[in-house]
């Protein structure tokens, strides 16, 4: 995972609510066995209409996406996060996110910034003409118009994002604790500990 400290650049002022992962990346793009190239299918149904924000040259290569409530609801497909990453998006700002999407985004080094609706509305307005700046260390989103909005982030996620840490690697360091748990389970709940033979 690439480490992330600050993001500076234009933000796509999308703003839609309840954007489901079928919209972010339709099922037909899920037949891949790699993580790359999904940007091409990102928001495909939205992009069918001309003058959509995603194809507006104003926001070409923008590292930030601004959306409405409940972003990333529906399917657990991590392809949604890979598609955003492939578009060059490193942060999504919205009033709220689905749990699974937020987790998938984090695991791919995409920052999810949850802010109150009125602050998101302000950023949607500013983003039409100005770049935004996100500082993860300071937990803030700022604009050239002197707006400054602070956001919350779980300290573990913040640490992992700042350092670009690999969560699997971190957990493997805890394998003694996992082994102890498994030993306990073998005596407390042998029916669970017994697996299915390959």
């Amino acid at each position: 995972m690439k480490e992330l400290a600050e993001i500076e650049g234009r933000a796509i002022p999308y703003g839609a609510k309840n954007v489901d992962t079928d919209v972010i990346i339709p099922a037909r793009w899920l037949k891949t066995i790699t993580r790359e190239g999904l940007g091409e299918g990102a928001f495909e149904t939205v992009r069918e209409k001309h003058d959509n924000v995603f194809d507006d040259p104003e926001y070409a290569g923008a590292p930030i996406l601004i959306a409405g409530d409940n972003f990333g609801c529906g399917s657990s497909r991590e392809h949604a996060a890979w598609a955003l990453l492939d578009m060059g998006v490193r942060a999504v700002i919205a009033p709220s996110f689905s749990d699974i999407f937020a987790s998938n985004a984090f695991k791919n080094g995409i920052l999810t910034v949850a802010l109150p609706q009125e602050q998101v509305d302000r950023l949607l307005e500013v983003a039409r003409t100005q770049p935004l700046h996100i500082d993860l260390e300071a937990q803030s989103v700022t604009t050239p118009m002197q707006d400054r909005f602070r956001f919350e982030i779980d300290s573990f996620r913040k640490h992992c994002l700042l350092e670009g840490l690999d969560e699997v690697g971190l957990t493997l360091e805890r394998s003694d604790a996992i082994t102890n748990y498994e030993q306990r389970q073998r005596s407390d709940a042998p029916w669970l500990a017994k697996g299915v033979n390959a």
Partner: protein, 478 residues
Amino acid sequence: MASKPRTLYEKIWNAHVIERREDGTCLVYIDRHLVHEVTSPQAFEALRIAGRKLRRPDLTLAVPDHNVPTTARVDDAGNQLPIADPQSAAQLAALEKNVADFGIRYFDAVAPQQGIVHVVGPEQGFSLPGATIVCGDSHTAAHGGVGALAFGIGTSEVEHVLATQTLLLSPSKTMEVRVEGELGPGITSKDLILHIIGVIGTAGGTGYVIEYRGRVFDEMSVEGRLTVCNMSIEGGARAGLIAPDETTFAYLKGRPMAPQGADWDAAVAWWRTLATDPGASFDKTVVIDAADIEPCVTWGTSPEDVVAIGGAVPSPESFADPSKREAAQKSLDYMGLEPGTRMADIPVENIFIGSCTNSRIEDLRAAAAVLKGRRKADNVGWAIVVPGSGLVKAQAEEEGLDRIFTAAGFEWREPGCSACLGMNPDKVAPGTRCASTSNRNFVGRQGPGARTHLLSPAMAAAAAVTGRLTDVRDLGEA
């Protein structure tokens, strides 16, 4: 001193926490992991690149479901037929290679047990009460119907589980959905969960695990409970739970992967302790009056867009929230519907009976009971039944249900996810309507431009007969 009363969720969660970090994040043990072909290849690829092994390959079960065609898989001579779509074929080949390389139990595309992961897990007794179960699929919530803490995960988490048999998670908040009273005649578990989602909204359960409580659930079959829990994610909740009881134990007993002998007795003894203690508190409670529930259908492009079949397409102006108003207008444009149109006047050209929500034997029996002695209307062009597993299919054939469906003009297919998400060739034609027993009516979900109305199997069968959305209770005797 008596210990603090705990909820079912808290009991399962506490039993699986390996360690807790200072910030509250917990390392949680995962008892069972289901794998399918779509969300796993990149996880195995990452393991290979990092040179990592599987910690407990014996706790994972793999089965292809999303991509498999539902047309014949073997020719008359019994030879397996190739998959026409090269990308789908490559994804299935990748799964076959991964399970072989990493030593994972696997039901291949022509195995009699093959089916949708969420149908196969409970059917095999792989999904157990009190267990933590994950799968790279959001409808993993279904397994909460047997009293398991089950939720969907992304591919990075699939990799994490394969390598460590754990996940790093924050505890969820708890929501009680309490249904009071009894369901009216002809009202099914699908109507109930659609109604619940209509009440709480698609984000209402975000951050929560829902426990469904009330006599309605006590009296419900395990298959009905699986349908209810399955759609928890449509209400934003990562998991849904129903306390395991005698009905659950009777359902699981003797299944191939369920505990046997002394293990079974010990397991049941523990399972009996799991139900939420009297006096335990939930972070949020939603009370639903069962008597309010009518057969439900959706009118829009979000599962919360639910209305009773006797109702009409709502006007966008009827929503107080301006963004909901705008979303409703967009939905109506996409769905090709006018406000005020009676739901029962909406014609449908396609019928899909299947998906992890409604493809079990009871679902097929309910649809067949409506279709017996009847035929689909002339305006219904495409009508398919896709059983949830090979075992469901075999059972249905033994009961003669397949002949009822084919006599009614339906196609009787091989098991898989099929037209629920249109990853395989089963798609709804652009601009046409589908009465569908699946779980999502999102834009383009059943194929580009497809217009989905979610409903129960009996209601789908009724729509097939009349060629329009129909209250199954009005159909009378065939």
